[in-house]
C-alpha cells in the first residue's frame, strides 16, 4: 500500500514538472526596459542612440542658421549609415526614430530616400499615364539641402570568457551643395559580457 502511494506520488510529481516545463509564458514589457540577453546589439542600444542623437541634432544652431539664410525649413535626406561593426545591426530602427523626431519637431522637412523616390516616380508616371497630365504633375520634386550619413564602428576585446564590446555611432549632417559638415553626432556604448567557464 505504502509503495503504491509513493508510486502515485512520484508519478504525479513527474507529470507536474513535465507540465510546468512545457508551458509558455508571455509578459508585456515597457519598451524603455533594458533587456540584455545575448550581449548583442539590441533595441535598448538602438533607442539610446536615437534619443542621444535627436536631443543633440535639434539643439544645435544649424537649423537656425539655415532658416536665416534661406528663409525656409531645411530639407534633409537620410543617406547611408555604414555598418563597420562585428555584428549585423538593424540600422533602420534608429535612423527611422531620428527621422520621425526631426520631422515631428516641425523644424525640418524630409525628402524620401533614393529607393523610395524610385518607387514614387514609377507610381507618379503610372498615375499620370492613367489619369492624364491633369492628374499628377511630373518633375515637381524638391531637392534636399542636407544629407545624414554615418557609420557604426565596434571594437571587440575578449579574454577568457570576458568580452568587452565598444560601439561608436557617428552621424554627420552634410550640406549637399557645399559639402559642409554642419553637425556631427556621436554616441558610444560599452558593454561587458561575462561567460561562466563551468556549468553542471
Amino acid at each position: 500500500m505504502k509503495r503504491l502511494f509513493f508510486l502515485t506520488l512520484s508519478f504525479s510529481l513527474f507529470v507536474l514538472i513535465a507540465a510546468s516545463c512545457s508551458s509558455k509564458r508571455v509578459a508585456r514589457l515597457e519598451t524603455s526596459i533594458v533587456t540584455d540577453l545575448s550581449g548583442k546589439w539590441n533595441d535598448t542600444d538602438s533607442r539610446l542612440v536615437s534619443e542621444n542623437m535627436i536631443n543633440d541634432v535639434l539643439s544645435r544652431p544649424w537649423i537656425g542658421e539655415f532658416r536665416a539664410s534661406a528663409s525656409r525649413k531645411p530639407r534633409v535626406i537620410v543617406g547611408t549609415v555604414i555598418n563597420k561593426s562585428h555584428e549585423h545591426i538593424a540600422i533602420q530602427t534608429f535612423t527611422n526614430d531620428l527621422e520621425r523626431a526631426l520631422l515631428n519637431s516641425g523644424k525640418v522637412s524630409f525628402v524620401a530616400t533614393a529607393q523610395e523616390r524610385t518607387e514614387l516616380r514609377a507610381e507618379r508616371a503610372d498615375q499620370t499615364e492613367q489619369a492624364g497630365p491633369a492628374g499628377r504633375q511630373l518633375k515637381g520634386e524638391k531637392a534636399a539641402d542636407f544629407m545624414l550619413k554615418g557609420s557604426i564602428n565596434s571594437i571587440l576585446d575578449e579574454l577568457q570568457g570576458t568580452k568587452v564590446v565598444f560601439y561608436q555611432i557617428d552621424l554627420s549632417l552634410i550640406q549637399i551643395d557645399t559639402n559642409e559638415v554642419v553637425w556631427i553626432g556621436q554616441k558610444k556604448i560599452k558593454k561587458i559580457i561575462d561567460r561562466d567557464s563551468l556549468k553542471w
Partner: protein
Amino acid sequence: MPLLLLIFCLFWSFPAAAIEFSRFYPSLEQQVAQKKYDQAIRQLKKSKSEFSGNHQVLYQLEMGMLLHLAGRYQESNRLLHAAEDAMEDFYTTSVSSEITAFLTNDLNRPFEGEDFEKVLVNLISALNYSLLGQPAEALVEARKVDHKLGLLEARLENEKTKNAYRQDAFARYLSGMLYASMQEWNDAYIAYQKAFEGYQSYRRYYQTEIPPNLGDELLRLSTRLGLKADRAKWAKAFPKAKGKAIPPGYGEVVVLNYNGLIPIKKPKVKEIFVHVLGAPYLMKISFPYYLNRANPVAYAQLRLQDAKGKSYSGQSFVVENISAIALRDLRDRIDRIESRAIAQATTKFVAIKALEMKANDDYGFLGGLAVGLAGNIWAFQTDKIDDRGWRFLPGEVQMTRLWVPPGKYQVEVEYFSSQGRSLGAESLEQAEVKPKRVTYLKTRESPSSGFDPDMRLASRYRNTPDEEPSPISPGRAKSEKTNRIELSTPLAMTLNDSRGQAIPTQSQGGIQFSWIQWGKELDYHWGVGFLTFSSILPNTNPDQQLQLGNSYFTFDFRMDFTPSFYGGVDLGLGSSWVSCASCNYSSQGAAIGLLVFGLEGESLGGVLKLGPYSGSATAMNAQGGMSQSLTWSGTLATLGVTYKF
C-alpha cells in the same frame, strides 16, 4: 549494494549508440556530388532527430552548407548564425558531459567544431551575403573571422602550442573585394595588403599560391590612392602583374568554384603500456587521423558570352585550400588529442580494475570475473573516436574574376585536371553585369556537370570508403535471424522471511542460462531459460546449516533500444527448496521477475538483470515428524555475458 549501483549507472551512461556517421554520409555526399541539393536537404531534415543533443551544431553546419549550395542563402545564414551562437556558448564547459565523455568517449561531448570550422562558419556566411549582394553584411562576417583568429592566437599562445592557422587569407582577400565594390578604397587596400601577408603564410603551410590577380589589385589601389612608394614595392613583389586600370563602366563577374571533398576522420589504433598499481598492462587506444580525399580538379576556365557572341574568359585560382588547413590543424593538435585519449582510456581501465578487485573481494572469484568481463566489454564498446566533422565543406575554394562590359552573359565553366586534360564543362545561370557592380556566382564541380557520367563517386574520390551508400538505419541488419545465449551469475541478492525481516546469509551462488532468438523483422525477441540459485544461512552447527534454493523456468522478452543496447524482462515460475544435512524437504512454488539491460558488440555482449523473487518450501526433519514451512522473498541482481551466433 553501492557497487551494484555504480555498475548500473555505468550501463546507463553508455551512449545511446550515436548516429553512425560513416554509414550516413556517403549517400548524402553522392547527392551533393550530383547537385541534388534539395534532395540532400530533405534527407538531412529527416535525420534531424539523430543529430539532437550533442550533435546539434553539426546539423546546423551541414544544413547551412547544403542550403548555401542550393542557393538558399538567407536560410543558410540563419542556420550558420545559430551554429555560431551555439559554438560560442560552448565556452562554458558542461561538467556532466565531460564526465560522461571521460567514462565513454568524446562522441558524448557536444560537437563544437575544430578551430578552422569555427572560422569557416563566418566565411561561408560572408559568401552567402556576397551572393545576396550585401557587401556590408558580408564584411561583418569577415571582421568576425579576424576577431576569432585573434582570439585563437591569444589562446594558443597561452597554451604554448604552435598552430599554422592564425589568419585566414581568403577572408581578407574577400574583404578587399567587398570594400572595393563599396568604393571604400582605403579599406580595400588595407584588406588586400593583409591578404598578401596571409597568402605568404598559406604558401608556407598549405602550398597555396598567392592569387595572381592580388598583385594587380594592389597596384591599381596604390595608384588610385597615390601611394607611389607602395606601388614600387608591389611592382617588385609581383613582376608579372601589370595593374591595368579597369575600363570605366565595366562590371565584375566573380565565380566561386568548390572542388573536391574535405578529409574525413578515421580511427587508428595504437597500443601502449600503462601501469596500474605497479603492474604493466597493454592498452589499445583509438586516435583520429584525417583521410585525405583526392580532388580531380586543378583549375577551371570561365567563359562569358554576351548576346552578340563576344566572349571573355578567365582562369580560376585557389583562394582557400580547406583540406590542407584541416590536415595541418589536426597535425598541430594531435599531441593534445593523444594525451586526452590516453587519459580517458587509463581512467576507464583503472576503474574497471578497481571494480573487478572489489567484486572479487565481496562476491568471490566469479563476481570479479563477471565484473571484469562486463567492464572490458563496456570499455571496448565505448572506445570510439570523435569522427564528427563538417563534411559538406568543399576540399578547396577557387575563384575566377572577370571584368566585362555591362550586359547579360551566358556563363560556362570548364574543369581541367592537373595535366591540363578537360574534365568537362557546365553552364551556370545567366549573369547580369551592371556597371561598377560585382555579380557573384558559385558552382561545385561534380560528375553530373557533364563529365565522367558513368564514373562512380567512390572511384572518383580515390579514398572515399567504398561502403554502399545507405540511409541512416538505427536498427540492426534485420535480414537474418540470430541466436543469443546468455550466461549469468548472481551478483547480489537480498533475502527476507515471510514477516519481511532480513535473513542473514553466509554465501550465495547460482547460474542462469537463456537462449533467445533475435527475430527477423521485429524489434521484439523472445526466448526461454533456466535459472537456479541458492543461499546458505549461517549456523555454527554444520548439520543444521540451512540452504534455501529457487529454480525457475524463465520466459525471456527483449526489445532493441539502439543497435547495441537492448532491454527486456525475464519472467519465471518454478519451485523452491530447503535442505540441511539432517532434514528432507518438499518443494513448493516460486516466482521471479527480472528487468534486463544488455549491450552487445559484434558477437559478445554483457547483460545486467535486476528484480524481485519469491519462494516457499517446507522442511521436514529426518524422522519425518516435525515440519516447518518457510516463505521468503528478496531481490536478485545478476550479471552475465551473451554470445550471438
